[in-house]
Symmetry: none
Subunit: 195 residues, 4 copies
């Protein structure tokens, strides 16, 4: 987002790092591994990033950028609120499970490895996302499609969605769209289901 130096090589490194961080975890991913993934010597990494943690920070910033982008998509005022939530869910799940987009997954699993300073930044970005979800949920509440505490509902939906990281198999028979629909039916039941 605000990365001044977003050269190709830097991006390559970030992407490779994200994949590794996701696969084996930030502490277990060595700088050598990352370098090898882009065909570099380990020392060369530090031409692009001052420290290993800086790579994580950049990965997380990008992950959060995607998160926000997925949440803040401009939605036609006329779109019915349930449809808006569906779009939100689909986009979120898409980003989470799309190939070559490991950054968001890293955001969800590696925030503990961030220094306090960087953590604050990530938290601030997370708040942006929450706000977007809250807006849509509020519309749903006004339309009497949901009831109860909106905050809890948001956390439940995101929890259920993010947990899919642990089990969802892209090669399985359940498509992202279907998964989104199932979750949507769960959290915002249609009148049809009630009878």
């Amino acid at each position: 987002m605000n990365t001044l130096d977003d050269s190709t090589r830097r991006r390559e490194l970030r992407t490779a790092a994200a994949r590794l961080f996701r696969k084996v975890g930030y502490p277990q991913a060595t700088v050598r591994d990352i370098a090898k993934a882009v065909g570099m010597q380990s020392g060369s990494i530090f031409y692009y990033f001052k420290t290993k943690e800086d790579i994580l920070v950049e990965v997380m910033n990008e992950g959060m950028r995607q998160f926000i982008e997925a949440a803040c998509v401009a939605m036609d005022e006329a779109t019915p609120p349930r449809m808006k939530l569906r779009t939100l869910l689909v986009r979120h799940l898409m980003t989470l499970h799309s190939r070559n987009n490991d950054e968001l997954a890293v955001v969800l699993s590696e925030w503990r490895s961030l220094s306090a300073r960087s953590r604050r930044h990530v938290v601030a970005q997370r708040d942006e996302v929450e706000a977007a979800w809250n807006r849509v949920l509020q519309e749903l509440a006004q339309a009497h499609l949901i009831s109860g505490d909106i905050a809890i509902l948001r956390l439940a939906i995101l929890g259920a969605a993010n947990w899919s990281l642990q089990w969802y198999d892209k090669k399985g028979k359940l498509s992202i769209d279907e998964l989104a629909d199932q979750l949507l039916d769960l959290f915002v039941p249609t009148p049809a289901r009630r009878t």
Copy 2:
């Protein structure tokens, strides 16, 4: 599972390790840290555990044992299924957030650090838990209290519940029971709510 040597000291170590693993993560928790937490020298740990990973394995076994225990509580046949699910949820959340029970939290966050061999063992235990949840969900389906894919529902409920690790504050105003009720209302709406 029922460890041969379950001496007091060993249990102390496991508990201290669990707390550390939860707090800073398994890779970042050093053997020295664990030892210091129980007033030992780092070398002494290896009298009790052959490797650092063995500690993690033991922590996870205990975590899984608690998970299973919470799930497999013998329930009176006569208990209404919705009540059964509530009990399941409350027990799970209780275990997850109770003080001095960091093992279950570790199970949820550190399985990546397990060797393939140990992972298989943990997965087998997880299946036991799933079976218990499935049984209750099936009863709910038969009573037409829920509809849709039971597996997805189970994953959604557990996802929402486990995600509470990221945000639930024991010192906040929301009690575990209230949280469980809110989640229950979400996933198994009562007729009352429908009108």
Copy 3:
């Protein structure tokens, strides 16, 4: 001086480090070199010292301790002041050039490698030494054996003495005592020399 853990091994390390620091300089002396000098692996050093700089700090503390000890030797009140200065000089030069006492030489040449924090400590100790020299020089001034600015005189004497590090050869024909006498004659000429 105030080192809590002054074990044999630790002292060995300090001594070996001092020799190396003196010979090749602190930045050029690698931890590996120091370890090899006492028959250790480089990693083992950090069982005794937290960082490489901590070794330097310890070396300098010891060097300063020797410096102070040489300066603060209790001198009989009755000793004539010129004799006192001679003792000071001899002890200082002895310490500076004695075999297996590289610490003081390191103090004089490596203070630049100290962190600001440690530097303050060393400077404080240096002030102690200056005070001792000043006391003696004051006595000489009161006896009209010297004149002029005492601070400048002290700096000149110490400069001349310390500079001997650059050229004095222990194996040469000039003994430490003779060197001390020559310097003394220079800075505190005897009446005999004046005629």
Copy 4:
């Protein structure tokens, strides 16, 4: 000595390097630092100098050139010897403490970082300086203004003078001329002082 390629840029680099070497020491001064000080990239330095040590060699050659120049100033035969020594001292101290002349200071503190080969060269130049000082001291001895070993006297004077690097403050109230006079009074007392 008279470098073939003494371009402006090269001189800029040498000057910047000298300042850095003096301030933080040769080993701690990185090629990047030097380059940045003249607004270059680190790689560009190697267009002007083959190695980092070559920069040091050039700095020291220049430092020695200044040292020799200060010492070998043509002095009128008729000048009284004490005045000659004063001139020598003043010029030496001036060079040592003048702004933008860090080369001489580097000569005094960084000879350890020179390779054996370059060191020999510097030592040869130093001998030239010593010869100049010896000539003047000899004249003083012949005029019975000093006594004792001339070599020791020379080393003492230079030691005292060079030590001023450690404490002399250009912004303080003591001028270079006053310092020179005080040292001169110390080493070549005037008849006035004797009474």
